[in-house]
Amino acid sequence: MIKRIIIFIMLGLMAMIFFNLASNYVENESLLKLGRYYAEKGPQELGAPNLVTAVVVTYRGLDTLGEVTVLFISAAGVGLLLRRTRRKQNDEDLEKADRREERAGVHKPASEIVETATQLLLPMVILFGIYVFINGHLSPGGGFQGGAIIASGTMFLLLALPESHISRILIAVTESLSGFSYVVIGVLGVILAGGFLDNRILGLGEYGDLFSAGAIPLIYCFIGLKVGFELSAVLDRFRKDDTGPEKT
């Protein structure tokens, strides 16, 4: 009972703070200084029509690199926490064990309608994901959204065909290669252009074309691949059925 009163008082205090915040709120009539700078200078400097992309990839590119790192660390943490408790550390051994488990049929198979629909839809979902991250500088979207859509495609595959197998080695190789290329492009920016992750190492091209805005589409492709495969790995980790008691 005392706990409830304390919770109530605390929520009331927070509500008072929030009420003050909301009652003094005035909607912006014009852009603030930083936003105005980006709106005036961004299109000429970087050649990207989508200013959010310009801010994410180039102006605040280091933040994005850090964020991709955070995502990588959290994927690695999920992998560490949900790891097998067996003594087989070898990748090939683990894959063989996975295949055995999947052949044994732990999951109930999906109905025929779901399987057929997924086989029809899966290429289109992956294509849509690639569209989203290649067009990140022209339309809403980008690497993170495209990666999430590719992970949704993986999710379709796991839902419709629970016996399907996702190669751990392919995921690891693709993820490492795209992360490495991302950093290499950033370092090339230091050598060839104005600074780390500068997109002007390639020509800016015609404003509004697909191949324009320097290295932004390239960087977003690598971010999209990395995020997509990382999220797929997280989903795969959560899918594996080893709910038995832990042996210590």
Partner: protein, 124 residues
């Protein structure tokens, strides 16, 4: 007719209320999964507050193409900076949520319970 409330004020109040609801859920629930649901509600609320602060009256998306020419861009677009921040915050939210859930799965495997009342040995 309807009074002319600014749209961003509605979204701001909704985001703040969402933070309160999520906090209430986190404090009153005893199941770990429900606590994590409360956390994700707080996440959504904070994102709504940040996006609504970046709104400019009558603004449109910060994508400069044929329908918003470059000359008018400064007057018509909304602030791109909060959008970019929230974009990365959402992805990090997913990472944090998945790590929390894998902790919950791990605790369940070890102790066969999700109720925080029964995990008493870490209490002083």
């Amino acid at each position: 007719m309807i009074p002319d409330i600014p749209i961003s004020l509605i979204a701001l109040c909704c985001g703040l209320a969402l933070i309160l609801i999520g906090l209430w859920g986190m404090l009153t629930q005893r199941n770990m999964i429900r606590i994590i649901i409360g956390f994700s509600l707080i996440d959504t609320g904070i994102h709504m507050v940040m996006v609504s602060i970046g709104y400019v009256t009558g603004g449109t998306a910060p994508i400069i193409n044929d329908s918003v020419p470059l000359a008018e861009a400064v007057k018509r677009i909304v602030d791109p900076v909060p959008s970019a921040l929230v974009l990365t915050a959402i992805v990090i939210g997913l990472g944090v949520t998945s790590v929390m859930l894998s902790f919950a799965v791990r605790i369940y495997k070890a102790r066969k319970t999700l109720m925080i009342d029964e995990l008493t040995e870490s209490k002083l």
